[in-house]
Symmetry: C2
Subunit: 199 residues, 2 copies
DNA sequence: GCCATCTTGGAATCAGGATTCCAAGATACT
DNA sequence: AGTATCTTGGAATCCTGATTCCAAGATGGC
């Protein structure tokens, strides 16, 4: 009997992700969202609740669509270090070129903003960090199994190290860091972890 | 002949730093500043200009009072790796305990926010990154001169790596990262850079 | 002590924020 | 087709944002 929605909430969320990702939650107005999505205020509120809930939904969507696929690729095939190198290459490519250049990472951005005061947001951040670390850890144990690691390299601490490095890449890319420099930095990190190639 | 200010702009700026550092610029209202400083709106505007100029002044003040002293200690005495280790220890201590626990770094926070759209802010961020990298580079060349570095460690790329690691520490500490974990991560990084102690 | 000049207090302004409300429109089952 | 039920448009609400303005107060040189 009821009417049905005249729009696709899924598509809408993707548009909203872009807004919050680029501008952050505090500087994005509901009016911006109305304009960008073409939706009406009423539809927005009826579907998603208020602005904060919309932000949370967008943040979760970002993780699903952007972060988690990359984490999965990191562990696929137990390739070890090459997978890690590829992960960082893709990361830097997304952060420094194309549509999302200089947007940073929506999750990293959330760390720095006041949005992290919300316990629900905080939970997403912690979960994100855990998943990133775990994926790197898995890749590093695969690397160890394939004897790709230098002696004395602790996979656990190294996973955390690489995770923090990724945050650094995300942050600096938002300020316009040079892709070449970032790639050089990541290469240095992976070199110091990997077995010396000719020695 | 004129009247003089009835307050100390210097002290005021320190109070303002705390506000912007903790909450960011977008979520800090002029009213918050009026309340925290005890100043009147008129005095604020007459002395510092608008909110954005006040933020810039606070950001520069933060660097002068918080960042640059740490950078200086990093290079003092050409101690090399121990100075780097000490730098990260102090960093983690400030980020995870005491008055400023979980505030992160005001400059790192600025990277992620919309404030970095302002060219003046961007310039401060770039300058900060350059100084941090340079200080680390200086410490690493001192380390190299003292034969503290593993063979094949490139001071330049490593300086950038450690700088990005510092950003990562800053970000995660704002989300409540555990100091022990952070210290372990930094130790792993420095171990992989330094000469193996017993081999 | 007086006056030109700045500072201060606090109201006033004006824009924009998020959210709510209701009448009008659309839907699908009967 | 009719109707109960949801969605939609757009105005209305109410709050808080930054900034300005002016009268009143304070200062230091004369």
């Amino acid at each position: 009997m009821p009417d049905i929605k005249h729009f696709d909430p899924d598509e809408t969320l993707d548009v909203v992700v872009r807004l919050f990702w680029r501008q952050g939650v505090a500087t994005t107005g509901v009016q911006d969202i109305v304009t960008a999505t073409g939706l009406n205020r009423s539809s927005l509120y009826a579907t998603f609740g208020g602005k904060q809930e919309l932000y949370l939904a967008a943040l979760r969507r970002y993780r699903e669509r952007r972060s988690q696929p990359m984490f999965r690729r990191l562990t696929e095939g137990d390739r070890g270090l090459p997978a890690v190198a590829e992960f960082f290459d893709s990361l830097i490519a997304v952060r420094c070129s194309g549509e999302y250049a200089r947007w940073g990472c929506m999750v990293s951005n959330a760390h720095a903003g006041a949005e992290n005061g919300d316990p629900d947001v905080r939970a997403v951040l912690d979960r994100h960090h855990q998943e990133l670390r775990d994926a790197l850890y898995t890749a590093l144990t695969a690397a160890a199994a394939r004897a790709q690691l230098a002696a004395g390299t602790d996979p656990e601490a190294t996973a955390e190290l690489l995770a923090l490095l990724a945050y650094g890449v995300n942050l600096r890319s938002r300020a316009g860091a040079d892709a070449r420099t970032l790639r050089g930095t990541v290469t240095a990190a992976l070199d110091s972890i990997g077995r010396a190639p000719l020695a």
